[in-house]
Symmetry: C2
Subunit: 226 residues, 2 copies
């Protein structure tokens, strides 16, 4: 059913269980609707039920799992409403951040962004969509850092866990070439020193999800709730 790396017996068990399950959910190894059991996971990892239970509570607090008393614990379905909220927040925040980056006009930044985009093209050429998702994250983080607000990205990252699940599970259906082109547009806006252009490009980029979402939810309706 599920492969989990063995835990380190010298450290606390509960955080390790949490970490492993969280990764499994985010990479799509555990899909929405899957059922978890305290005793089953405990046996799988060779520990007692209590630390597993604590990991479940932590996951539920993240919105990744749902504990239904006396029934079972389930991987939470992807809330379309949450995804849309996260997208709107990202558009507003990253729109502001890219304006700050343009205002700073750091000359050393542009070559680094170009190099990132080159790596994204390689990921596309290799057909490695998981790699692209990671590179995409890094691209946006780099921009937040360039704006002087890396900590903002850390906050957003927790918030957009639902978006990440969506992208991993349905990675194949996205048009990576188009996303890369949009990244290029953003960088070109920065190169031109045109804050408004860069912001428009960023907002278009983050609006792309709205185009892709309907098809995804139609093809895999069992993974979603409103």
């Amino acid at each position: 059913m599920l492969e989990l790396p063995a835990i380190d017996l010298t450290a606390s068990a509960a955080p390790q269980v949490y970490d492993r399950l969280r990764r499994a959910i985010l990479r799509g190894a555990l899909v929405p609707g899957d059922r978890l059991s305290e005793s089953e996971v405990a046996k799988l990892m060779g520990i007692s039920r209590q630390p597993v239970r604590e990991a479940f509570i932590h996951l539920a607090s993240d919105g990744l799992a749902e504990v239904r008393p006396q029934r079972g614990t389930y991987i939470r379905k992807i809330s379309i409403s949450d995804v849309l909220s996260a997208r709107l927040i990202r558009e507003a925040v990253e729109g502001d951040l890219i304006r700050m980056v343009a205002a700073k006009a750091d000359p050393a930044l542009l070559p680094r962004l170009d190099a990132e985009i080159q790596q994204q093209r390689q990921a596309l050429a290799q057909g490695d969509s998981d790699l692209f998702v990671r590179l995409d994250d890094r691209f946006h983080r780099m921009l937040a850092e360039a704006a002087g607000h890396e900590s903002v990205w850390n906050v957003l990252e927790g918030l957009k866990s639902q978006m990440n699940r969506l992208r991993h599970i349905t990675a194949r259906t996205f048009d990576i070439q188009k996303l890369i082109d949009q990244h290029v547009e953003i960088v070109e806006g920065l190169r031109a020193g045109d804050a408004a252009q860069a912001e428009q490009a960023m907002r278009r980029h983050l609006n792309q999800l709205l185009d892709d979402l309907p098809e995804v939810t139609r093809s895999r309706p069992e993974l979603f709730i409103p």
Copy 2:
């Protein structure tokens, strides 16, 4: 030390403990640096350690508490970096939302906002700063709802828990009259149907925190970490 309402024995204990402790933290009854003990809270509530422990884990996941193994559990100090991130995010998001509200131009909305501001004035007249904080929350929530994105506010609310603690603990040092005036400016922007004016007013309003923060951190440095 701490007053906690008795729990309902017919319902699950852990969520109730979580809820009571969370409220106590947000209203400032538990201040940053305070120490909690599983067994102490358990005795106080007449239950065993286990559900208390689970509540602690949930609080830690919210960033409100910090469990230090074999040492104790502490109310987390207010992270200035987190507060600043939350403020920046709010400015970007609510700036976008207020533009949407202006675009909708719902005629029934303005009287409701006026009534809200009247209540805020009453809270000021009564010197009830806790009430004003709650009304302020409601004012912003109402605007998000008017933009058609109440769920976005739900997400922001969890994110800005650190901001709420700050405001409750230091409520006296804020100039409530000024905040109300800024609310009026926002509503006037809407009344004029001027999206740009409304957005500017909102951004000024949310920038107010940057003016107030230095004095607060200087007067109570023991409550903060960078």
